[in-house]
């Protein structure tokens, strides 16, 4: 699917600051320990550090559970605290084998020197945020006090609160200014045109009561509800913002022979996706514990050319949910890979969240660009006025460029499992209702959004010739601008750098979360199918289609057991390699394929 339209996933003013190439070293001035330790030498270095931080109560064990795949293995989720306050993005996942540490992945911030006593009270923060958002807090225990690493290299004491307008705010607890805000809607957007429903017949697991049938699946261990807004914007808002789902929200049919394509596809596909995770990974539903699954279908007037997952405390019954709109001609955004993509966002949210206690991302990582750029014959030195009349944020006279690595990995994982689900239920091939490595090809009036096989075959921005990247060297990064109030932000339009080449694009895509997602998803393709990466020229010996499950296991293990709440492009490679060694062994064909594929895309 193409990137988000309109609403950025992340409207940052500041966030994690780290050099993307930094792994396993202390970075100055950000003072971040970005750990991806899997070798004996790395573990010998980092295991004592983690133990020391734990003894000093800078790290606290949040979760411990036995590995569901590898006997004898155990996973610990450790969260970072400063003066008893949680540190945003500071968490680790440590894997042990009968007490011996096997791997450590995550991030820990050092040198935090913020005053932990807030200058404004919780009630004052709540009032400020209610006035700002025009809504109320979504979680009863919000706002919560925490430490936030900011983009300009300092640490801020903030109140964090998710509001009913589906935005999470980070409010400075000393001066009451918004430091960061996150739009909680995870987009799956497409723009195009088509000619209507696919016309395939599929079974619906429904519930009969009162002489009608309702779109409530009671046959699967997790109840699955498909809600129909029926074009009612109040219902849409209620369900999106965490309001209660009521029986009249369910789609109904008088003879159980359903004709509303959006309801049919959403309901059946949500069930199929549940089946895939259960059968392939023994994972039960959104949260692995059979929490109710809610899908919401809405007409184009309410949700044009879009689908998204929204996490708790939003969505129906404040439990999160998948929302599906319609394309330009009314075709539902409920193709199987799109449905699986959105539900995978939920799986990632819950799997990482339950282990780390934190939401997965966003995780903006910074790098320094040139001191000036030339576009259309005009040179823009940094510190001059930006392209939208806003000054760029510069460091040492160089552009500060960011990309949301965690968001791109999140989107890549959703594309990966959207594709995996498609292969689980459709015969492989080309055309409608065939499994392939493109996203959204079965959306009847939208068309292909991204390609895992050949990312560059699909444009991000056709008029400017910007293509989806298949290698880390072709990633998109965006210049940071300073808002009038001094806050840092991404802008729309944005000054982006595509493989180092500056270009003005209409939208920053929340830091390139969709744009850069194809680097990881292309590695998934190469690990299965093999072939040559067009940018690096490296060849991968894939495991073959008959063994695709081996590669899917590796990626799923990374999500369920290993990803920290903030993860960089530099960390995802070591994590996946370790996951493959854990499951398949160091000398297996799968591990070789994973290693070659990750190397081929630059991870």
């Amino acid at each position: 699917m193409p990137k988000a339209d309109g609403v950025s996933r992340l409207a940052i003013t500041a966030l994690v600051l780290v050099l993307s190439s930094a792994v396993g070293r202390v970075q100055e001035p950000q003072r971040l320990l970005s750990i991806a330790a899997e070798s004996i030498d790395e573990l010998r270095q980092w295991d004592p550090v983690v133990n020391r931080l734990t003894n000093e109560r800078a790290l606290a064990v949040r979760t411990v559970y036995d590995d569901p795949q590898v006997p004898g293995r155990r996973h610990e989720g450790l969260n970072q605290y400063y003066q008893g306050l949680p540190v945003y993005g500071g968490d680790l996942t440590r894997q042990t084998d009968r007490g011996i540490t096997v791997s450590i992945f995550g991030n820990v911030y050092m040198g935090i020197d913020v005053n932990p006593a807030p200058s404004i009270t919780v009630n004052q923060a709540r009032d400020t945020l209610e006035n700002l958002s025009g809504s109320t807090v979504a979680r009863p225990d919000d706002p919560t006090l925490m430490i936030l690493p900011t983009l300009d290299g300092r640490f801020a004491l903030v109140y964090r609160a998710s509001m009913r307008n589906a935005v999470t705010y980070f409010l400075d607890a000393h001066d009451g200014q918004v430091v960061m805000e996150v739009n909680e809607i995870m987009h799956q957007t497409a723009v195009g045109r088509g000619r209507g429903a696919q016309g395939d017949i599929k079974k619906m697991s429904t519930t009969s009561s009162g002489g009608v049938y309702r779109s409530q699946d009671q046959l699967r261990p997790a109840p699955i509800f498909t809600l129909d807004t029926r074009g009612n914007s109040a219902s849409f808002q209620r369900l999106q913002q965490g309001g209660p789902a009521v029986e009249t929200d369910l789609a109904i049919d008088t003879d159980n022979d359903w004709t509303q394509a959006a309801v049919v596809d959403a309901h059946a596909h949500l069930g199929w996706v549940y089946d895939y995770f259960f059968k392939s990974h023994r994972y039960q539903g959104l949260n692995g514990r059979n929490a109710p699954v809610f899908g919401v279908v809405a007409p184009r007037a309410l949700l044009p050319s879009n689908a998204f997952f929204i996490p708790p405390p939003f969505g129906p019954n404040a439990g999160g949910g998948m929302f599906f709109g319609e394309g330009p001609s009314g075709g539902p955004m409920t193709a199987l890979d799109v449905t699986a993509h959105e539900l995978m966002h939920g799986v990632t949210f819950f799997a990482v969240g339950q282990r780390t206690g934190r939401q997965f991302g966003p995780g903006l990582f910074m790098e320094l660009g040139p001191s000036s750029v030339t576009i259309g014959g005009q040179t823009f030195p940094c510190s001059e006025s930006g392209i939208a009349g806003r000054p760029f944020f510069c460091s040492g006279g160089r552009y500060v460029l960011v990309a949301d690595h965690t968001g791109a990995i999140n989107e890549g994982l959703s594309d990966i499992f959207g594709t995996a689900v498609e292969f689980a239920f459709h015969p492989s091939g080309v055309g409608a209702l065939r499994a392939d490595y493109t996203m959204g090809e079965d959306l009847t009036d939208v068309g292909v959004g991204r390609s895992l096989q050949n990312p560059a075959s699909v444009p991000i921005d056709a008029p400017r010739g910007v293509l989806y990247p298949d290698h880390i060297s072709r990633r998109l990064v965006h210049a940071v601008v300073m808002l009038p109030n001094g806050a840092l932000a991404l802008s729309s339009p944005t000054l982006a750098f595509v493989g180092g080449t500056p270009i003005v694009l209409p939208d920053a895509d929340g830091g390139g979360v969709h744009d850069n997602s194809t680097i990881l998803s292309h590695a998934f393709y190469l690990a299965i199918e093999g072939g040559q990466n067009r940018t690096s020229g490296r060849t991968v010996q894939g495991v073959g289609t008959a063994n695709r499950g081996q590669i899917e296991q590796v990626f799923f293990r990374a999500v369920r057991d290993m990803l920290p709440s903030v993860v960089s492009f530099a960390q995802i490679g070591p994590i996946l390699r370790q996951a493959s060694v854990d499951v398949h062994g160091a000398s297996s064909a799968a591990t070789t394929a994973i290693d070659q594929a990750l190397t081929a895309v630059g991870f």
Binding site: K203, S205, L219, P221, N256, G271, D275
Partner: protein, 249 residues
């Protein structure tokens, strides 16, 4: 086959037109009664296929029935009508509990064209046959103490048969397999016409009383109606052999 047998028996009767008499008195034989405990020696097999709809898709149950041999009760009587020719009637009752091998294809609740196969055995399927035989008979003189008769004629069968109506199975998510747990059955009753032919031999140790044996072959085809409205065709009767009391007058 039926007409051939009748013709053969009639021919035999023509060859023995001498009037049979009671032993020791020389009085002409007027009639007889036989009571036999016997054994229906032949088993019969038949099949049924039921189509049903579940989870908005058609499934099927194929049942292979076997009715094995078993004991029967046979009562017959007759009268001489002219010289060596007579008529008789007989009743046989056969009852046996049978079984069926059941193989089903049960639709998947979530997916078309992914049926789950189940197999099992259904027991306690009762077969009851009550046959009323009308017989033309030729009584063959064979000495004062022996009697021999051959007979043939139509038979009227009433057959009850336990048949499988519905498959019972257990399943659990993800429903990719199902386990046979039993069947629902019905025991319909149908009547039909067939034929019988056989021979009866008696040894009389007293004027009116003796012992004897009978061998009979009876056959009829009976049609039951399956739960899906289709016809289930089964055979009734078979080779029957018995022995018991003989009375003559």
């Amino acid at each position: 086959m039926r007409s051939t047998l009748v013709t053969g028996i009639a021919a035999a009767a023509c060859l023995v037109m001498e009037t049979p008499t009671l032993a020791q008195t020389g009085e002409p034989l007027r009639g007889f009664v036989s009571i036999n405990g016997g054994y229906q020696a032949s088993s019969t097999d038949f099949r049924d296929s039921i189509v049903f709809t579940e989870f908005v898709e058609q499934g099927s149950v194929d049942s292979s029935y076997t009715v094995k041999s078993g004991p029967q009760l046979d009562i017959a009587g007759g009268a001489r009508v002219w010289r060596s020719l007579g008529i008789g009637v007989g009743i046989t009752r056969f009852s046996k509990s049978g079984q069926a091998s059941v193989a089903g294809k049960i639709p998947h609740p979530f997916f078309f064209n992914q049926p789950r196969s189940v197999e099992g055995e259904a027991g306690g399927l009762k077969r009851e046959e009550l046959a009323f035989h009308i017989q033309a008979m030729a009584i063959v003189p064979a000495g004062e103490s022996l009697s021999l008769a051959v007979f043939a004629g139509p038979s009227f069968f009433n057959v009850k048969q336990g048949i499988v109506q519905k498959l019972q199975y257990s399943q659990q998510y993800p429903y990719d397999t199902a386990t046979f747990s039993g069947v629902d059955t019905d025991t319909p009753s149908e009547s039909t016409i067939g034929f019988n032919a056989g021979a009866d031999v008696g040894y009389f140790f007293a004027r009116h009383v003796g012992i004897g044996g009978v061998i009979r072959f009876s056959r009829a085809s009976v049609d039951f109606t399956s739960i899906d409205g289709e016809t289930l065709e089964a055979d009734a009767g078979g080779v029957q052999a018995g022995a018991g009391l003989r009375l003559r007058f």
